[in-house]
Amino acid sequence: MFSFQPDRSQYPDIGPDGKFEIDLETGKFLKLWQGPNHPGITGNMSVELTVNGDEVVEGKTHVGYLHRGFEKLMERRTFIQVFPIVCRVCVPEPDFNEYCYAAAVEELAGIETPEKAKWIRALILEMGRFNSYMMSIGGIGGALGNGIVGQWLTYVRDLMLDRFEELTGARIYHMFILPGGVRAGLPEGFEGRMEEVLATAERYLDDTEKLLFTNAVFKKRTKGVGYIDPALFESYGVTGPNARAGGVAKDVRKDSPYLVYDQLDFDVPVEHDSDIWARATVRYRDLRVTIDLLRQILAKMPKTGEVMTSLPNVLHWKIPRGETYIKGESSRGEYGYYLVTDGSGYPRRVNVRGPSYTHAMALLEHLIPGTNIADVAALMVSLHTYPPEIER
């Protein structure tokens, strides 16, 4: 059958070390910057490509465009003042920062969270996952020229932002999960409006399945492209959907349940091909699971009860010496906060473990050589990375 793959014979030989012998002086190579502003870039980072013809022989990642020094800032903020900062570490899915930080503080300060607050936290985290997957699937469509999927799912995401707005009082940076609980319970009639959004989402996802996942062009461009050898998962710190697309059923929600995930009924979708197609499919299936989880949470959530514990006076709140690591399963994989306290009113160290750090840099650089220029954007989007959490 007709093949889109170029004739490789015209390209330079691979050296004895298994890499291309790149000599810019020969004039056979071209440096090409992709980003920091580029439709196929997942946020503000850039990739310095070395191309030979339309084949990429080397890719170097450049990050730092978003560096605001959050972790250092946090060391100069009181424990309560860190609360409004953390969400900014990851723009599209900020709530994991709020949850991990709050849970870490609660553990070290010995604060109990009310039961209902745990349910609302899980609700918010799943709402955030919903939005994050919507962006990701829309993004993979966009990166491969199928922008209509991006438009549809951005609309659906906007509907969920409306639910965020009425629940938390903000659309993007919710600043809702305080240490000690959450700021408020559900507004009147929230469940009904959420169900409308979920139904709309399912309708658009059905259409997306027809347009994207049952699409000869999309299959052609994603199957077998951007393969990650599952043997590399450990050494490259690959987690979340990227690992699940390679047959590794890792999910913090299942492996070490937090909040109320042990009371929810769900399966972790797994694919095996470990290519762009498998990663997109895993996300699509997991998004369906998320929609189901949102329904479950709203149905099982206690209808009454406190949502916030009284805190000590936060203006001079000191937390005993200690350290902890709190993790959760974000839409991109294991997300964690390592918090060290020294008995003072300030965190001694806050370290954010964002999955994008490994996925968007080391792994991407490893995957780029040998791809076509046109596939780089799809490859990046398929890893589903958010630069702000690389540069926290």
Partner: protein
């Protein structure tokens, strides 16, 4: 690889062409959700300018700035918000002590002037000021405690037959919990007559650094142990924590610091004057809080200070006016010991005017300071008020302290509704309990309970101890025995119901309901309606020479009288309590010291 289905299926997307567009025509006009956190609103009537919002804001978006019309007791500042910095986290709303700061759900605002986005909510009028929707702090304050730990006190049955101290003081745990509630706004500092660094010494309690706490106390107040027990704590009336909760127990925290530092350690911390003697001499008349504070300050500056006290012990009203169950004498003695350690000489049992003349003091010293207090009781002057069995509260309290024999009848009536009335009622009740095993004291106050002058806790504790307190009763006559062996002696007090105390112009002109008359059976009637200064020590010539202000010696802002060598302060000039007397003492010392320095300059 592909199937026919994979080729045809994407074309189903064409159905969206005939669907209604989902985009909003005018997204700017869209109303935000009910609890959306939009631009701030501030109810300036409720706001006290405590600045907790400014403290918590991690973006430094809030500045406390002066406003034109602050309320009594607030800081005079209001939050100004810079929306170039605000991140809409609403911690300022959550931490607001009064609940005045809220956020409207208004989230779009267009203005071409960049400076417009920095304004004072509530002061600079904005279109969203009246919007009820938005973010309010949910329920009570969650970010700081609401109630103070309960103070351990002796039960009424245990305390009524003795003069043991009632209040036990906070434990370390209680004190830390209470100190934790402080938001360090400093409204208390401004209100305290001596401007004690209250937030700082409360912070020292949280840190467990009692040495530092003591040091901070002594920077402003040499009577911290006394004030830790009997201060009228004006600071607590402005405390930011009192809105939606109890004010911080500032007085008990002060006491907690002193309770945790031994007398020896306290002397080490305060130390002795580290200056060369100036050779200047100052005489102080009266060893009360005003006189001794003046003495403390002047001695710390190297001046030779002698305090003359008519009574046998130093302390003035703190010793002879306040009962021992509220202020144990050894607590007072420890405060005085620190003052003595500064080299202050206190000559007790020396009455100026009779033992030594004021003229003699003037001749022997560079300056003389009067802190003579209010040791003469005022009389109601109702018929029979000069009868045997009618006593002045202040005189009776002094005699109890001095250990003199006081008559203890089974039935006592007290006229007055202030703290002195409570003090004498409770003292007499204790003596009655010791003597008869029963309490028989009735307090009749002119004011109704809503306008009582005595502290609420004094009234409550008095009632607990079995004292009968009748409000709105005006004394009309001391009923005396008309015949028999005890002819002329008091046998009761006749009172009428008070309808109003002041007339339309606010002048004292009580109106009574004569039909509502009670005769309170009593073999002793104690008048506790106020005191005045005994100024006989001045002598005729000086009395004539001095300027007076409504029966009190007139002084300028520094406590200087019209005579260049004479200063006066404390209760006899300003009133009304220990902490004001201490404040007066500092003022007097500063003024005297400035004069002595000027003298030294001239001598050069």
């Amino acid at each position: 690889m592909g199937s026919l289905r994979d080729v045809l299926s994407p074309f189903t997307a064409w159905k969206h062409v005939i669907e209604t567009p989902v985009t909003l025509k005018n997204p700017i006009g869209r109303e935000a959700a009910d609890r959306y956190r939009g631009f701030h609103q501030n109810d300036t009537e409720k706001c006290i300018g405590c600045g907790s919002c400014e403290t918590i804001c991690q973006n430094a978006a809030i500045d406390m700035v002066p406003v034109d019309d602050p309320k009594e007791g607030d800081s005079g500042l209001r939050p100004q918000i810079d929306y170039g910095r605000c991140c809409w986290c609403a911690l300022c709303v959550d931490v607001c002590m009064t609940g005045s700061l809220t956020m409207s759900n208004e989230y779009t605002w267009v203005d071409t002037d960049p400076d417009a986005f920095r304004f004072i909510p509530g002061v600079d009028e904005k279109p969203w000021d009246a919007i009820a929707k938005g973010y309010q702090r949910p329920g009570e304050r969650m970010l700081s405690g609401l109630t103070r730990p309960e103070m351990m006190e002796m039960e009424p049955e245990a305390r009524i037959d003795n003069f043991d101290e009632i209040v036990a003081g906070y434990s370390r745990e209680q004190a830390v919990l209470e100190a934790d509630r402080c938001v360090e706004c400093g409204l208390c500092v401004a209100t305290c007559p001596v401007h004690m660094d209250i937030p700082d010494y409360i912070a020292a309690i949280r840190e467990g650094d009692y040495d530092l706490g003591t040091q901070i106390l002594y920077e402003t107040n040499p009577f911290s142990e006394v004030c830790g027990r009997v201060c009228t704590h004006k600071c607590e009336t402005v405390c930011a924590a009192q809105y939606e909760g109890e004010p911080i127990a500032i007085r008990w925290l002060k006491r907690h610091i002193i309770d945790n530092v031994s007398e020896e350690r306290r002397l080490e911390i305060v130390g002795t004057p580290q200056v060369l003697p100036t050779g200047r001499k100052v005489a102080i008349v009266g060893a009360g809080p005003a006189g001794l504070t003046t003495a403390y300050d002047l001695a710390r500056q190297g001046h030779a200070v002698t305090v003359y006290e008519a009574q046998d012990h130093a302390g003035g009203m703190m010793r002879y006016g306040i009962p021992e169950y509220r202020l144990p004498y050894d607590a007072l003695d420890r405060d005085i010991a620190v003052i003595r350690a500064q080299g202050v000489e206190i000559k007790t049992g020396v009455r100026i005017g009779s033992d030594i003349t004021l003229a003699q003091l003037k001749a022997d010293n560079d300056a003389v300071v009067l802190g003579i207090g209010l040791h003469m009781g005022r009389s109601t002057r109702v018929p029979g008020s000069d009868a045997p069995g009618v006593e002045a509260a202040i005189d009776l309290l002094r005699r109890i302290t001095a250990g003199e024999e006081v008559p203890v009848p089974k039935k006592v009536a007290v006229i007055g509704g202030g703290n002195v009335a409570m003090d004498i009622a409770r003292s007499m009740a204790r003596l009655q309990k010791q003597k008869y095993g029963a309490v028989g004291v009735t307090v009749t106050a002119l004011e109704d309970f809503a306008h009582f002058l005595a502290d609420k806790e004094e009234v409550t504790e008095s009632i607990e101890e079995g004292i009968e307190i009748l409000d709105a009763r005006g004394p009309q006559e001391m009923v005396t025995f008309k015949s028999g062996k005890r002819k002329g002696e008091v046998k009761g007090l006749r009172t009428w119901k008070v309808i109003s105390i002041f007339d339309d112009q606010g002048r004292f002109a009580p109106q009574y309901d004569e039909a509502d008359e009670i005769v309170h059976e009593a073999e002793m009637v104690v008048e506790a309606i106020g005191q005045m200064a005994d100024v006989s020590l001045l002598g005729d010539e000086l009395t004539e020479a001095l300027q007076w202000n409504r029966g009190r010696i007139a002084v300028d802002a520094d406590g200087h009288t019209s005579e260049p060598w004479l200063w006066a302060g404390g209760d006899s000039v300003h009133g009304p309590d220990v902490i004001h007397a201490v404040a007066d003492g500092h003022k007097l010392a500063a003024s005297v010291s400035a004069m002595l320095a000027a003298k030294a300059e001239v001598a050069k």
